[in-house]
C-alpha cells in the first residue's frame, strides 16, 4: 500500500496535478454554491462550450497561448449574456441556448477546417497531466481574488438571488456584482477546462453544491459541505484515475455523483 502511494508522487506531473486539484476544487465548490443558488447552471455550461470559440479565435489570430484568447472571449461572452438577459426579450434559457449554440458552431467550424479537429479533441475530455506550474500560479491568484470577492459580496449575491428588485431598492449595485460574478466564473472555467474537459466542467461546478444543498440548512453549512465534497471528489478521482488509467475528469465526476445520490437519499428521508 505504501509502495503504491510512493508511486503516486514519483513524477513531477503528478505533484503538479495534485496541487492543482487542491487549489481548484475548493474554488469550484465555492462558486458552485452561488451558481446553483442563482439557477445559473445553464449559464456556466454555455460558458464552458464557448471555450471552443475562444481557442478558434486564438488560432485564427495566430496567438500561441490560446489560454489568453479563451479567457478574453469567455469574459466578453459572459458580459454579453448578462447584458442581453437584462433586456429580457425571451426566457433566460432560450437566450443562453441561442448564443451558446451559435458560438459553439463558430468554434467547431473554424477548428474543423482542413479536417484538423482531432488536434483539439483533447479539450473535450481534458488532461489533468498537462497542467503547468505557471497555470497553477494563475489559479492561486484567481483563488485569492475569489475569496476577497466572496468576503465582500456574498450577502449581496444572496440577496440578489432571492429578490433582485428588492435588492436594487436597497441600493445594492446589482449589475456590477452580477457582472463581476459572471467574469469570475468565466475566468475560472477557462483556466480549469483544459484538464477537466468541456463536457464535464459544469458537473464539477454543480454537483458538489447540489449535494451540499441536499443536506444543509444555512449558508455556512452550504459552503462548507460544498467545498468538502468538491475537494474529496477531486482527490479521490485523481487517485483512482492514476492507477486505473482512466481520464481524471470523468473519474472525479463519478465520485461527485455518488456523493450527490447519497446526500439526496439522506435529504429525502430527513
Amino acid at each position: 500500500m505504501i509502495e503504491m502511494l510512493q508511486q503516486f508522487f514519483q513524477f513531477d506531473f503528478m505533484k503538479r496535478a495534485f496541487v492543482a486539484i487542491l487549489v481548484i476544487t475548493p474554488l469550484l465548490g465555492i462558486l458552485g454554491t452561488m451558481i446553483v443558488h442563482k439557477r445559473m447552471a445553464y449559464f456556466s455550461d454555455a460558458l464552458g462550450h464557448s471555450a471552443l470559440t475562444g481557442i478558434a479565435i486564438g488560432v485564427v489570430l495566430g496567438i500561441t497561448d490560446t489560454n489568453l484568447s479563451m479567457i478574453i472571449f469567455a469574459v466578453v461572452f459572459a458580459l454579453l449574456l448578462n447584458a442581453i438577459n437584462r433586456r429580457a426579450l425571451a426566457a433566460t434559457d432560450t437566450i443562453i441556448s441561442v448564443f451558446a449554440s451559435c458560438s459553439t458552431a463558430v468554434g467547431l467550424a473554424i477548428l474543423s477546417m482542413g479536417g484538423n479537429f482531432s488536434k483539439y479533441s483533447a479539450i473535450l475530455v481534458g488532461d489533468i497531466l498537462s497542467i503547468t506550474a505557471e497555470e497553477i500560479g494563475y489559479l492561486l491568484v484567481i483563488f485569492v481574488v475569489t475569496l476577497i470577492f466572496w468576503a465582500v459580496a456574498v450577502n449581496t449575491l444572496n440577496a440578489i438571488s432571492i429578490h433582485p428588485t428588492l435588492a436594487k431598492s436597497r441600493h445594492m449595485n446589482v449589475r456590477l456584482i452580477e457582472d463581476i460574478f459572471a467574469v469570475l466564473i468565466a475566468v475560472i472555467v477557462m483556466l480549469s477546462i483544459k484538464w477537466v474537459g468541456i463536457l464535464l466542467i459544469n458537473a464539477l461546478l454543480i454537483l458538489p453544491a447540489a449535494s451540499s444543498r441536499n443536506i444543509s440548512e444555512n449558508m455556512r453549512e452550504y459552503h462548507l459541505y460544498s467545498v468538502i465534497f468538491s475537494l474529496f471528489s477531486g482527490v479521490v478521482g485523481l487517485f483512482v484515475s492514476y492507477y486505473t488509467n482512466v481520464a481524471t475528469g470523468p473519474m472525479i465526476v463519478i465520485v461527485a455523483s455518488l456523493i450527490y445520490f447519497g446526500t439526496y437519499l439522506f435529504g429525502k428521508n430527513r
Binding site: 474529496f232 479521490v236 456523493i259
Partner: protein, 297 residues
C-alpha cells in the same frame, strides 16, 4: 444540535465509505496489474525501431512491445515526452532507440530511469555528421538490427537464442535488399543531386552520389524566398538533374522545382510512418530502391 451531529456523522460515513471502496478497489486493481506486469516490456522510440524490434522478437512469449510515439508522429526531432510516455517508460524493461541524436530527450530519460536498459541501435555505426537517419541505408540498418538483437539478448538472456535466430532470418532479407542496391549503384556513382530531406544523405552515400545542396524540409520548416533562389541557382550551376524529396513536406517545393528548372524530382519514403505490419520496412525500402533503379537507367 442533535440533528447537526447526525448530519455531519452521515457525511463522514458517506465519504469514508466512498473512499474505502475507491482506494480498496484501486489497490486490488493495481495489485493485479503489478502481478501481470511480470512480463517483459520493450518500448521503442519510433517507427523504424518498432518494426525492427517486431521482427526480432517474433515468438517471444509474454512480451509487451510498445512504441513511444504514435506511428504517425514521424521523425522525433523536437519531440516532447508526454506524461503517458513517461509512465510507459516506467514500466519498460528495455528501451530501443535509434540513437545518433534523433531522440533528443534521451538524456532526460536516462536520468529519470537509471535502471532502464537503453539499447542504442546506432552504437558503433559510421554515421554522417549531425545526421542520425541511419535506417535509410540498408547496410547501416543491418548493423542496427545486429545491435538491437545483441542488446535484447543481453537484457533477456532466457530468449537470447530466439533473438539471434530471428535476427538471422530478417538479416537475410535485408541482405537481399542490399545486393539489389549494389547491382546498379555503379551507374549512379558520381551523379550530382540535391536533397530536400537530410535523411536522404544516407541514400546518396549508399549509391556514391554527390550531394551539392541540402534543404531540410520537415514538419516545422518555413522556407524563405532567398533559399528557394539558392536551390534554383545550385541546380543551374551544377546542371543537377535529380532532386530527392519527401512527399509530405517536400511536395510544394518539389512542384516548384519541376516548374522552374530542368531537374526531375523523385519522392522517396523516409520510412518513419506507417502501420504495424512487420514487413513494412522491407516493402517500402524495396519501393525506394526501385525508384533509384529507374534513375540509373
Amino acid at each position: 444540535m442533535n440533528r447537526k451531529m447526525h448530519k455531519s456523522c452521515f457525511v463522514a460515513i458517506l465519504l469514508s465509505a466512498i473512499a474505502i471502496v475507491a482506494f480498496g478497489s484501486t489497490f486490488f486493481y493495481w495489485n493485479r496489474q503489478n502481478r501481470t506486469e511480470e512480463e517483459f516490456t520493450i518500448v521503442t522510440s519510433f517507427y523504424p525501431m518498432y518494426i525492427a524490434a517486431e521482427n526480432l522478437t517474433e515468438g517471444r512469449e509474454g512480451l509487451v512491445l510498445k512504441s513511444l510515439s504514435e506511428p504517425q508522429t514521424g521523425c522525433l526531432h523536437d519531440y516532447q515526452l508526454t506524461a503517458a510516455d513517461m509512465k510507459l517508460l516506467s514500466t519498460a524493461d528495455v528501451f530501443v532507440v535509434n540513437g545518433g541524436g534523433i531522440e533528443e530527450f534521451l538524456t532526460d530519460v536516462a536520468a529519470q530511469y537509471p535502471d532502464l536498459v537503453i539499447v542504442d541501435a546506432s552504437q558503433g555505426l559510421e554515421l554522417l555528421e549531425d545526421n542520425g537517419h541511419a535506417w535509410m541505408s540498408v547496410a547501416l540498418h543491418r548493423q542496427q538490427l545486429n545491435n538491437i538483437a545483441r542488446g535484447l539478448a543481453e537484457a533477456d538472456p532466457e530468449y537470447a537464442d530466439l533473438y539471434r535466430e530471428n535476427y538471422g532470418i530478417y538479416d537475410e532479407k535485408l541482405k537481399d535488399l542490399e545486393q539489389e542496391q549494389q547491382e546498379f549503384a555503379g551507374d549512379l556513382a558520381g551523379e550530382q543531386i540535391i536533397l530536400f530531406h537530410e535523411a536522404y544523405a544516407y541514400v546518396a552515400r549508399d549509391y556514391g552520389m554527390e550531394v551539392v545542396y541540402v534543404m531540410d524540409l520537415d514538419e516545422e520548416r518555413q522556407v524563405s524566398a532567398g533559399e528557394v533562389a539558392d536551390v534554383l541557382r545550385a541546380i543551374a550551376e551544377d546542371d543537377v538533374k535529380i532532386v530527392l524529396a519527401e512527399e509530405q513536406y517536400g511536395k510544394e517545393m518539389g512542384d516548384m522545382v519541376t516548374r522552374e528548372s530542368d531537374a526531375k524530382v523523385y519522392y522517396l519514403d523516409t520510412l518513419v510512418r506507417g502501420d504495424y505490419d512487420k514487413d513494412s520496412y522491407l516493402e517500402r525500402m524495396e519501393a525506394n530502391i526501385s525508384i533509384m533503379r529507374g534513375l540509373a537507367k
